[in-house]
Symmetry: C2
Subunit: 379 residues, 2 copies
């Protein structure tokens, strides 16, 4: 009998239409979900504008939390005292927490990076923090997430080959130290492959991490400003090396097109602020492309955002009404909530359609049809 | 057989414990609800942060729309084209619209007021508008509200006796003209009693309007800066004159204490932005008084906002978590939504408890207990 508390990834089938796409299932102590999966981002213990019920209504079963943001405020010890992250934010599904590595390097006032770890000042109040590989695991143990990320060294884009090599070496070193920390049995730690846009570094880093036999692998340091070609080239290099029986998580990606293309290259897990951030700016995803609800041609449209969508927003409101909510000087909060709900539902519907097509062996055709339709209609 | 389309007020019983409190029922083309009733305010075709489902979940069956705001943006003709207000905002319960008189005098750049009407510039874009009694009815016909208000002349506080007298005279004149407009049978028009804080004017205005035999009466021009004593003195004067079989609506009131006290004086209907506006500022209503969720002593509280409350927020979240959502630099929108949901539920629970006590003949005791408990605990 399988211990329900333990992380498990089961590969169920491969796409039969000539892509690398895979259908799978992940089990955690907080439930199971099929892959490819999209994970909404709950930076500060909340997926922006969404209640836990809203998130469930979109179909999502796993969300992200940000280690850096939560450690800085309200603090991981406090969240632990409040019953850990699941109880604190009242989310009983699965939670993946990132390592904070990316935020430390992009948001914080970085003081010093060494093999020991990173010393930085919080972007909020200037307080001094030190993140070491061990400390980052400890923080995520306080948070109680189901899937943890190790501290990694994520370089800016562009980075020189030397910079990227040093960061990849350090990420491997840090992963080894992270792995040495004793873990609770209901939490797992992934590896994060770095190497910027250099195929040799990506290949080497992926191989080193493969040897560490992690339960899953993240591909980090992409979608940080490089070209789409570079991103997919690196993904292809890395996925060719990572063990087939482990889940692959492309961090921080992406647009609907990016997700479809990355699935085609054998990627299983995704997260991105795009559906919620776009929503707050009036952007809504539809099968015929992304629309901007503020555009005047929606003012008299009695159709829903997306006729095929079954979310509360699409069942209830016209584009005309949503346009009103987003119009200058009105700018009603409920509009932000409704577009967030819709966009997150769209991402869940997209991954559900991807999974269905893999199961039916026609992902390649789905991908072509989707991209043609989606790209033709975007505003 | 009663025509379900027509407005009807049925008085069901009086309080048997020595107050003027009354229990009743209002029927409109969009459903029925018991009185005393609290009506959430949906200024711009939305109760701030709330979906129609959220509003229903609080127990509310009638909401307010603001004629001035909707006429200025998006415009009443547009809303009519979009299927009128109920369809536009997807609210199938009852709607009461105010006359815009109060907003014209408090928000707009007023150009001219005469017996003909008011000419003003929109506070949004400076466009010139003219509201006449006939025009305001026409706007509300475009909106399709169930209960309409006539254009009234609401004076600032303090106002001299002469100013208040002129405004009351004009409000009576305008009500007569409003009443002469042919109405759809599923809409009704109330009268709005003015007279500032002058008992003689209130008495006279109430008598004049009583003679016009309106289906209901609003008490306007109160809660605009006068003392509580003045407000309740005027309410007492007016309620003593208004016909017992017609509903009485105290516009823009108020705090939980105000509502309980006004019910005690025989008032049936209330509206106020307080539950939603307070919510957005971190204020939450409980049976033990109003609390401020930002206060540091809530930081480690695992209790809900109000243990007796059954709203989603209280069933789901701790004060600690809500404190986090409202904390400086976090300020998550979902917190505004949750406190709004809770506060509107509290107001519905309060009016439900008021009605229960009237029915059971112990409103006086309820009132004493409520006020003692509520006032002792407010932060």
């Amino acid at each position: 009998m399988v211990d329900k508390k333990k992380f498990q990834f089961t590969l169920e089938c491969f796409d039969a239409s000539g892509t690398q796409a895979r259908l799978g299932k992940i089990e955690t102590a907080h439930g199971s979900f099929p892959t490819p999966v999209f994970m909404p981002v709950g930076t500060r213990a909340v997926v922006k504008t969404m209640t836990p019920q809203n998130i469930k209504d979109t179909g999502a079963k796993i969300i992200l939390g940000n280690t850096y943001h939560l450690a800085v405020r309200p603090g991981e010890k406090y969240i632990q005292e409040m019953g850990k992250l699941h109880r604190f934010m009242a989310w009983d599904g699965s939670i993946l927490t990132d390592s904070g590595g990316f935020q430390v390097l992009s948001l914080a006032d970085l003081r010093k990076i060494s093999n020991k770890g990173v010393v930085f000042r919080s972007h909020i109040n200037g307080d001094l923090y030190e993140f070491t590989p061990e400390k980052v695991i400890e923080i995520q143990q306080c948070l109680g997430s189901d899937i943890m990320m190790p501290l990694d060294h994520c370089v800016a884009c562009p980075a020189t080959h030397d910079e990227a090599k040093e960061a990849a070496e350090r990420s491997i070193l840090w992963l080894k130290r992270s792995k040495a920390v004793p873990l609770d049995e209901n939490q797992v730690l992934f590896g994060i492959v770095q190497g910027s846009v250099y195929a040799d570094l990506r290949e080497w880093c992926a191989k080193e991490m493969k040897d560490l036999d992690m339960p899953g692998y993240s591909i980090g340091g992409l979608a940080v400003g490089e070209s789409k070609k570079d991103m997919f080239d690196m993904l292809e290099v890395v996925n060719a090396i990572l063990p087939i029986e482990k889940p692959r998580y492309l961090m921080g990606v992406g647009t609907p097109e990016d997700i479809v293309n990355a699935v085609s290259l054998g990627t299983d897990m995704f997260d991105c602020v795009m559906p919620t951030r776009n929503a707050r700016g009036g952007g809504a995803f539809t099968w015929k492309g992304k629309i901007q609800i503020r555009n005047s041609h929606h003012r008299e449209s009695l159709m829903p955002l997306e006729p095929r969508c079954q979310c509360y927003c699409c069942r209830t409101f016209s584009r005309a009404y949503l346009h009103h909510l987003f119009s200058k000087g009105v700018e009603e909060i409920m509009g932000l909530t409704m577009l967030s709900l819709h966009n997150l539902t769209f991402y869940q519907d997209l991954t559900a359609a991807i999974r269905k097509s893999i199961k039916e062996g026609n992902f390649k055709e789905f991908k072509q049809d989707f991209l043609a339709q989606y790209q033709a209609g975007s505003e």
